[in-house]
Symmetry: C2
Subunit: 128 residues, 2 copies
DNA sequence: ATTTATGCAAACTATTTGCATTGCC
DNA sequence: GGCAATGCAAATAGTTTGCATAAAT
């Protein structure tokens, strides 16, 4: 199962690297077809999944249906606005102690944890 | 918009109360139709959402497509097996300090956080 | 009697897949 | 040349919606 480099792959990789936020497959696809209008959505999905498998990209459930992709792959936390559903990275160190805390309480072998704060973002906060 | 009590609603409520785990809409529907085979899936969805709105039920994204419903509504954490995807409640007190920690770092108004541990459950751990 | 809730089928959204064809290595 | 990757369209999964009818208040 040798992997080949194609123009589609390099294009999607470039678009993903240039993302400064999270984006869903459709959004990435839209940026991609601005450069190469002949690439298909199925191909974009296939490449994104390959990147997730090789740890070039992270997949994050955004709670409301769609999956979003996060170009930041090292462990980090998220914060999501409960009004507009936008998801942001948050600058808080990964709390290893939480994993340790759980290891003593369960028969699971714990690998990691996902932490997402919920709140209302500045833009969605009514000003008066 | 007055709410009415129907046999469908009481049945779904009973089934949900008797759940001792998380279950997706389809699973709840399957239990429901064992008692009343004439109830439709759309109705089950409508009732489940109503229960989520009234805080009788919690909705949890299980990461892999389907949404699962959790009859435990007070704040609590989850642990999910990365092999079988099953989601369990976990017995760890809610860490209020995490919300506090974030409040100082962001322009969001923080309400709460979701914490899900990832690992391999006992059943999916190969024994030798 | 009024008006919400239901059942059904169709619509929809996000994603995946089969397959013939293209194009890397 | 051979086999992986692509494009397309169709299939799938989960969920939602429109509308005529049934049932709760």
């Amino acid at each position: 199962m040798e992997k080949r480099n194609t123009k589609q792959k390099s294009l999607v990789r470039k678009i993903v690297r240039d993302l400064n936020t999270h984006a869903c497959a459709e959004e990435i696809y839209n940026r991609v077809i601005k450069v190469n209008p002949r690439i298909s959505l199925a191909t974009v999905y296939r490449i994104l999944h390959e990147m997730v498998d090789t740890n070039e990209l992270r997949e994050v459930a955004n709670g409301s249906g769609a999956t979003v992709f996060d170009p930041t792959v090292h462990p980090h936390y998220h914060i999501q606005c409960i009004k507009c559903n936008q998801l942001f990275d948050i600058d808080l160190p990964y709390h290893e102690n939480l994993d340790k805390e759980i290891r003593e309480k369960t028969s699971f072998s714990i690998l990691s944890h996902d932490l997402t704060f919920k709140g209302v973002c500045a833009r969605c906060t009514p000003k008066n």
